[in-house]
């Protein structure tokens, strides 16, 4: 059974006080949530690394949540920040090896509509969203994306760069 917002918030309060049992449960629930959250957004081969990276970020930033605020939007903000950072690192490393088979369960909680990546991409200009989706999410090469969209290869690169920069800026607002 999945933990709801109230249970997660309770576990987090106990974790902040040093309760290790509560923290272990919380991290397991967060891991499950994060796997669902990331499963359609990155290649399966990178899923474990990104989930673990996010869990470590959560661990290091435990003090940035307080019980006057809901837990899941906090977790979602951290997850999205790590996701955008991951995409930027991929972009910098010029790795375009994402695969198209992103099948898998995605049972995000009720706030999913609010925090969906589609919503984020929808806030970018069409050309930038298209370039990011084709190259960074569907795994096409820059040349293939250029053919598919009619944008030049250099324009695809520029649009990815600008789009990721904008995503990073709007990561909390959407």
């Amino acid at each position: 059974m999945r933990a709801d917002e109230a249970s997660l918030a309770r576990l987090m309060v106990m974790s902040q006080k040093g309760d290790r049992q509560a923290y272990a449960t919380l991290l397991s629930e967060c891991q499950r949530w994060l796997r669902g959250y990331y499963s359609r957004r990155i290649a399966p081969a990178q899923l474990d690394d990104l989930v673990q990276d996010t869990l470590m970020a959560l661990h290091n930033k435990l003090a940035t949540w307080d019980d006057s605020r809901p837990f899941l939007p906090w977790l979602a903000a951290i997850a999205r920040y790590r996701w955008v950072d991951h995409l930027r690192r991929l972009y910098r490393a010029d790795e375009c090896e994402l695969v198209t088979d992103f099948a898998g369960q995605d049972e995000e909680p009720a706030i999913a509509a609010r925090i969906s990546i589609d919503r984020l991409l929808g806030m970018l200009p069409d050309a930038q969203a298209q370039a990011i989706e084709l190259v960074k999410i569907e795994g096409l090469s820059v040349a293939e994306a250029s053919q598919a969209t009619g944008q030049s290869e250099s324009l695809i690169k520029v649009n990815i760069h600008r789009g990721l920069k904008k995503l990073a800026h709007m990561v909390e607002k959407a």
Partner: protein
Amino acid sequence: MTNNPDTLIANLVGDLKPVKPLSFAKGLGYSLAAAAVSALMVIMVFGMRADLMAGQFDPVFLIATGLFLVLGIAAAVTVIVMSRPQVGSDHGGWIWSAAMVALLPVAAMIVSLGSGRAMLSGDSLTHGLECLIIGGGASLLVFAILVGWLRKGAPTSPDRAGLLTGVAAGSLGIFAFSLHCADNDIVHIGLWHSAVLLLMAGLGRAVVPPLVRW
């Protein structure tokens, strides 16, 4: 990074220590205290304006200094809110204060052009540079406090957090120095006092993001 998620979780659990949640009130308190210390330092080192000492208040001084103070507080509040990640947070309130402060340089240009006065004559340049340099110096304590707070937090927009750190520090810094600067000329205030804000905003945007990424 470990390949086994359970091992990672076990390690993180083993590493758990009690933490105190970052308090908004504490963050704001530190920032305002830093601004107050800066203002006291300015008064102690350079002295307070004679008209203030005599209990007289110039309207231009009151409006301009008040605008810088409000913008400084609004930007500092935004920086502190940004240190705690949350989907759906709105960090745009400070923009209205900034728009009001932007009226100062606009007014300075209109007055300067209308009266045919040179904006950068020799005397005004020397005095203006003094305000720019000392006002910038008076911003540094607030700047350091806000950077420290952001480093404890988890800002998810480091570039904007850096810019706003500079805006807050610059506004509160020139507010502090305005308690000494006896010039009530809108041309001087609009040009040189606003320049402190721009200088610090640029510094914050350039320097802070790498310091607060996580």
